[in-house]
């Protein structure tokens, strides 16, 4: 039975990343296409990127968050499918995010079926 997994992309905000030349960055961008081509049938949803800042709603009101000081932010997400965590990891391991400096992927199984 195939299960769904949420890939949560965590890493430094752009302002904290070391500079790269535009030519290098363009090459990097192309690796997303390669990932998509290789795991197309396993990627349920490419997902999207998130802005660095947002709002946090709680019972006491609305605050800004995540804080600018926070070292790590959620930069985006995707949804993939697989038979097990190990299986999902084979897709996540080759995700371009893993090749960005100081970035990591949190993999969480979706409970709905």
């Amino acid at each position: 039975m195939s299960k769904k997994y949420l890939l949560i992309y965590r890493g430094p905000r752009a302002s904290e990343m070391p500079p790269h030349s535009p030519a290098e960055m363009q090459k990097f961008l192309a690796t997303w296409g390669e990932w998509k081509a290789k795991f197309g049938d396993r990627i349920v949803e490419m997902g999207d990127a998130l802005h660095d800042t947002g709002k946090i709603l709680s019972k006491t009101g609305v605050t800004d968050g995540p804080l600018v000081e926070s070292k790590e932010v959620i930069g985006g997400y995707s949804i993939v499918q697989g038979t097990s965590y190990d299986d999902a990891m084979t897709v996540a391991r080759e995700c371009p995010i893993m090749f960005m400096p100081n970035s990591r992927i949190e993999v969480r199984e979706l409970m709905g079926y």
Partner: protein, 417 residues
């Protein structure tokens, strides 16, 4: 949304240049460092956003928006930057700027003139143009200008210092900058030459520089204020040289001399374009070096063979160049043409009548030309000495290999002693 991997090569570099130019116009050249940092971060942001969601149709507008907000954040944080307090209004305006693509060309044009500030030393102008207009990193610039990264950083910071001290709240209007047009031509010509003259073993590196110089000169030619006869002549020159670029390198990456080039590999479309621009440049009463250089290039392009080239015309064009801008390099080229036209001895006599200035003493091409002429006059020993000297100073492997082949040929001819 277009697919991310259909982006043309160099798109990111060019986007970088356009965004920096547009932001410089909006925020002022004194903030160049903050602008470049913000643009860099916008591209980093795009890596995830476009990778997941796909690249937007108007990439430059997207990057501009992200970079603009980023730059404002940084500038606001600096208490001294009171002049950008009206920023939120401008952000709103930036979001629905409809004629963005057209304006960007103007911004690029203005940026070229800013890079050519007479207070900035010429080598810094060139480095700044490569950084801001072409989107090369300091490391990539160092590779292209045959210098160290530290040196490039120094040149860039010198240039940024000048721009910062100009203390203008916004970039001056294009019309005010027009007196710098000569300097802009010069930098674009240098940029092209860095690609054309240097025998980098990597083909791509050379072609990229030539293409960028051509792309920027095209922008000059498309604007009524800068479409002067000199601009047209410079564009003609680039097309006519560019047409022969591929034929200058063989399959092994070695340089091929003009005499040995396969003329069927020359790009006929580019030659036609070059001749069209050369025709268009023939107005006004100023004969610029670009007119003459393009004239020489067109003689080569139109010659059916190396032998059937109109060497007399070429020699005369070089002589006119020497009158406008005396340079032993023009004399050297004239000597090559004279050798074809009136014989090797005449060429050698002309070249030997010039005492090369100290800055030329280590220029390998001078010795290489001298060696060739000696060889053709039958003086093998003098030729060998000159080839050896040229070999010592040849800057790249491709040039060394070419010289070594010729040096070996001389050794084979030399009588035993």
């Amino acid at each position: 949304m277009s697919d991310t991997h259909t982006l043309v090569e160099n798109a990111f570099r060019h986007d970088y240049g356009k965004v920096v130019a547009a932001l410089t116009k909006r925020l002022g050249p004194q903030h160049l460092q903050a602008i470049e940092d913000a643009t860099q971060q916008a591209l980093l942001t795009a890596l995830t956003a476009w990778g997941l969601g796909g690249a937007p149709d108007d990439r430059v507008a997207w990057l501009y928006r992200v970079a603009y907000n980023r730059a404002l954040d940084v500038l606001r944080r600096d208490a001294k930057q009171a002049s950008v307090d009206d920023a939120p209004m401008q952000v709103a305006a930036a979001h629905d700027a409809p004629s963005f693509a057209g304006e960007v060309q103007d911004d690029l044009l203005r940026m070229m003139f800013l890079c050519c500030d007479p207070a900035i030393p010429i080598e810094s102008q060139l480095a700044l143009a490569l950084k801001t207009l072409c989107g090369f990193s300091t490391e990539e610039i160092a590779l292209r200008l045959f210098t160290s990264e530290g040196n490039v950083l120094k040149r860039l910071s010198r240039a940024r210092d000048v721009l910062r001290e100009s203390l203008q709240l916004e970039a001056p209007a294009l019309a005010e900058l027009l007196p710098r047009l000569d300097a802009v031509h010069r930098v674009l010509y240098l940029l092209f030459n860095e690609g054309y003259q240097s025998a980098q073993s990597s083909d791509l590196i050379r072609v990229e520089l030539c293409e960028d110089a051509l792309r920027l000169t095209d922008v000059l030619a498309a604007h009524p204020l800068t479409a002067t006869p000199e601009t047209h002549a410079l564009l003609a020159l680039m097309y006519l040289h560019g047409a022969r670029l591929q034929a200058r390198i063989d399959e092994l990456g070695d340089l091929v001399l003009l005499a040995d080039q396969d003329r069927s590999r020359w790009d006929l479309d580019a030659i036609a374009q070059g001749l069209t621009w050369l025709n268009r440049s023939a107005t006004g009463d100023r004969m610029s070096i670009y007119h003459l250089l393009a004239g020489i290039a067109s003689e080569h392009c139109l010659a059916p063979t190396f032998e059937a080239t109109r060497w007399q015309e070429i020699a005369e064009l070089y002589q006119m160049l020497e009158r406008i801008e005396p340079s032993p390099l023009y004399t050297m080229n004239r000597a090559i043409a004279v050798a074809q036209w009136q014989g090797a001895q005449a060429g050698l006599d002309l070249l030997r009548s010039v005492t090369p200035p100290p800055w030329l003493a280590r220029y390998y091409l001078w010795d290489a030309v001298l060696a060739d002429l000696y060889l053709r006059c039958g003086n093998h020993q003098a030729a060998a000495v000159c080839y050896d000297r040229a070999l010592q100073h040849a800057p790249t492997d491709a040039e060394r290999r070419l010289l070594q082949r010729r040096r070996d040929a001389v050794a084979a001819l030399e009588p035993c002693h």
